[in-house]
Symmetry: C2
Subunit: 501 residues, 2 copies
């Protein structure tokens, strides 16, 4: 009898041992994966832990029922249709308050909210418009004029006509069409065409010097209100003009940019600043590129605090590959900081994703998009070894039809492996976004683990300063200042605890 009891006891002990071994190995894997992911090396303070509990509670609440009903989960749906749901989210309101550091990949002429552009720029005196080949052209000048191609009219007259109503004008200065977005664009190629046309439409409107000053100021304002205190703009230098027809050169443009930024800093304590990455269109030949590099070098010497680097823009899939210019870039890489767009594509083995190889070999400090990185494991090794940040713009990738559901975004794999991600907004004004919080929401809710907490968000914010072009001393100061804002954010979150029950 006692032998039987002993055997039963032994068996139970053995089962217990096997189970606890299994559980501890499993927990070890979960722990290891958490520590490998973005934010995994951050240890939260006690106060941060308290705030983290509040954050995770809000997050888990918003994730309730999403597996059964995907319509409850905004990151899986198109930004155009889910934006209003995001705005109702408590988690989004926390992200809006969170000091996010900087935005390192924003195209200047698509950076301001559509609301502001339509309400405060389109409505201005002296703006004229005409329609050519079904597209709107707009420009400021004093009196109506007609040329062979286009019949200019005051914009306020156009807005009264049914064919050129306000809704239509909005569709010309953004990608927003009424109705279902999937009916508006049937392919990446198609949406890119409209995208390029949109840049062309707004160009002449924004290059009017007084408008440009207001537009840039507003861009900074929208970032500032969204708790983004530093910006690096991609800019294909516009030729600013006056009503009387005066056209300015690049130098005047740089001075204007610098003046607005300085004024904004004076009027907004805590704001760190803004720089530009000169980014002409990639549709150029070798001679034009050499000219652009030379222009950049000259201007960078005279405006070292304004110009942070060089890039090429435009549709990468059909544009000139970086490889075509490797000799020019290679020669310049010791003197110019490159921040190349590379691998903004879902093709594999084509020139466009091979841009990733050249970007890394040409010493690119960061990579714009890098959507195809997971298809290039050798490049990924180099990215890790050289500590190159990846500029992730999730809403852009969705609107420009690389991916429809954020959960399928390849950066989910990069996040899991702890690559240095910086969240950017690319062209928020063109898709009805504003600031950086919408993109942060997509990344945090749709692309990070359900278990990711405050350590993940803290890492994103720190990355955006660490991988910025600020000189070392300014960067350190910026991180110290950010820490003060962060502490306050944590305190407020704890103080507002009741609001988030």
């Amino acid at each position: 009898m006692w032998q039987n009891n002993f055997l039963i006891l032994l068996t139970l002990l053995l089962i217990n041992q096997v189970c606890s071994d299994y559980l501890s190995t499993r927990n070890e894997i979960l722990r290891a994966e958490k520590s490998m992911a973005v934010g995994g090396s951050i240890t939260l303070t006690n106060k941060e832990k308290e705030a983290n509990e509040i954050l995770l509670r809000v997050k888990q609440k918003e994730l309730q029922g999403v597996q059964e009903d995907i319509a409850k989960f905004p990151p899986a749906r198109h930004f155009f249709v889910m934006k209003k749901d995001v705005e109702k989210s408590k988690l989004f309101s926390i992200l809006q308050k969170l000091p996010k550091g900087g935005s390192l990949h924003t195209h200047l002429t698509a950076s301001v909210s559509l609301d502001y552009v339509f309400t405060s720029i389109v409505s201005r005196e002296n703006l004229h418009g005409c329609v050519i080949n079904g597209r709107l052209k707009v420009k400021f000048f004093e009196k109506g004029k007609t040329n062979n191609l286009c019949k200019w009219e005051p914009i306020k007259d156009l807005r009264k006509k049914q064919a050129t109503s306000d809704a239509w004008i909005k569709s010309q200065i953004s990608l927003i069409h009424e109705g279902n977005p999937s009916n508006a664009y049937n392919s990446a190629h198609n949406v890119w065409n409209t995208f390029i046309n949109t840049f062309a439409t707004v160009y002449d409107m924004l290059a009017y010097k007084p408008v440009f000053q207001d537009y840039l100021y507003q861009a900074l304002q929208e970032f500032y209100e969204d708790k983004v205190f530093y910006v690096e703009f991609r800019v294909n230098f516009p030729e600013l003009y006056e009503l009387n027809g005066t056209v300015y050169g690049y130098s005047e443009f740089l001075q204007t940019f610098s003046d607005v930024v300085q004024r904004f800093k004076r009027e907004h304590p805590g704001f760190i600043g803004a720089k530009m990455i000169y980014a002409p269109n990639r549709a150029l030949n070798a001679t034009q590129l050499e000219q652009a590099l030379s222009t950049y070098t000259t201007l960078q010497k005279s405006h070292p605090n304004v110009l942070a680097g060089f890039d090429l823009v435009g549709c990468e899939e059909i544009g000139t590959p970086l490889f075509n210019f490797y000799q020019q870039f290679n020669k310049a890489q010791n003197n110019i900081n490159f921040f190349f767009h590379a691998g903004e594509t879902n093709w594999y083995g084509f020139d466009v994703d091979k841009n990733l190889i050249d970007a890394v070999l040409l010493g690119s400090k960061r990579i714009g998009h890098g959507y195809a990185l997971l298809k290039h494991p050798k490049v990924l090794e180099m990215v890790k070894q050289k500590d190159i940040a990846i500029e992730l713009s999730p809403i852009s990738n969705q609107v420009l039809m690389l991916v429809d559901d954020s959960r399928n975004h390849p950066a989910t794999g990069l996040i899991a492996q702890g690559f240095p991600i910086v969240v950017c907004n690319d062209d928020p004004g063109f898709w009805g976004a504003k600031g950086l919080s919408y993109d942060w929401y997509m990344v945090y809710m749709g692309m990070a683990s359900k278990d990711a907490g405050l350590e993940f968000l803290k890492q994103l914010a720190l990355n955006s300063l660490k991988y910025s072009s600020l000189p070392e001393n300014e960067k350190n100061q910026a991180i110290r200042d950010w820490n003060v804002s962060w502490e306050k954010f944590i305190d407020d979150l704890i103080k507002d605890k009741a609001k988030y029950q």
Copy 2:
């Protein structure tokens, strides 16, 4: 003067050196990535190189213009709408002729083409149908009978009615709806509901013993014609029945399966065989699971050549996680080969993707789908170290709405890193496919590098035998036999060169 010339010469030499350094580093990266990817360790023979040139020429030709017009690129579109384009492809016709080895993940009751099922089974004498809650039920029996729930009618009478026309019946025994597939299903949840209902509908029809025998034979036939000579079926054992109401137990089912496979082998030289992985639905409790494991163990002893292992099926996202049963599985893992479905999801940090951790810890020999693997880098390390194959079913993942464009499938990253991929077809009959070539096409054209050639395809075929459940000696023989078919395929491709110009 000569000094100037000397300087120019020196500069040119230096530039030349820098350029050639750049190019050789770049080529080294391209070479390294090619050798890391699936197929990268294979060295082609001279004859294979000749065939590879033909293959790549056909491939490049079919890729012409796809970047400008995605409608020309089937893997980026839904299988329902692009299938007919694939069938016109020369590359597809090569893949059909290529000896593909085995299919290691096919659900038996969804394995046969819709055409055959509709033409040769639905039309049979004694099949009766009724409609309940808008769904078709079908069963074989001798005379019409009525019960409280359902009014049974001969299927040929139902087919004459508008509400239960042939098109509607097809929509009940497959996922194919007329018109645009994106209108038919608006979420993964929605398509999974129909998917589960479809299994329920066909179950009673296929469990009629004479039909089951024909169905299984036809499944093998369709694989054989598609140059697939070995199959492992996931099966939730049906209770076979006769017209007179006799119902058989599992043992009779196993014997019937074995008899059909043996007969098929005798009648089809070169065919290796078929096995089953017992896969009950994951909606069970611990007691039921223990019962299922015990049933499997008993049956496996009496049918060691028929039963290869154990798995659980059903929608993983809403089903019981493997972790709930880790004690039972852990106890059994030394005696039972597991082939778990795991991570068939785009969620991250949920129970469903954590199934990947348990699958690996429980010694799963292969992983079904593993769609979420890139989000689990620690699991990936273990998958590599333990050499666990990943059963990739690209069309299934598209139809069941994990991903719409194959180029975004996360297995692209696994392919780039050379993970052991086996291409499978999951449930071809439910989406109008047949055999394995459609899935191979999706993988080769949509998920591998543009530069991937014959070495990639050869690796896929070899993987499907290497990671099969064949005993070592049979596996070696199977690979030797496959080599003979492969040589013939290479010879034929070279002989038919003119056809592929």
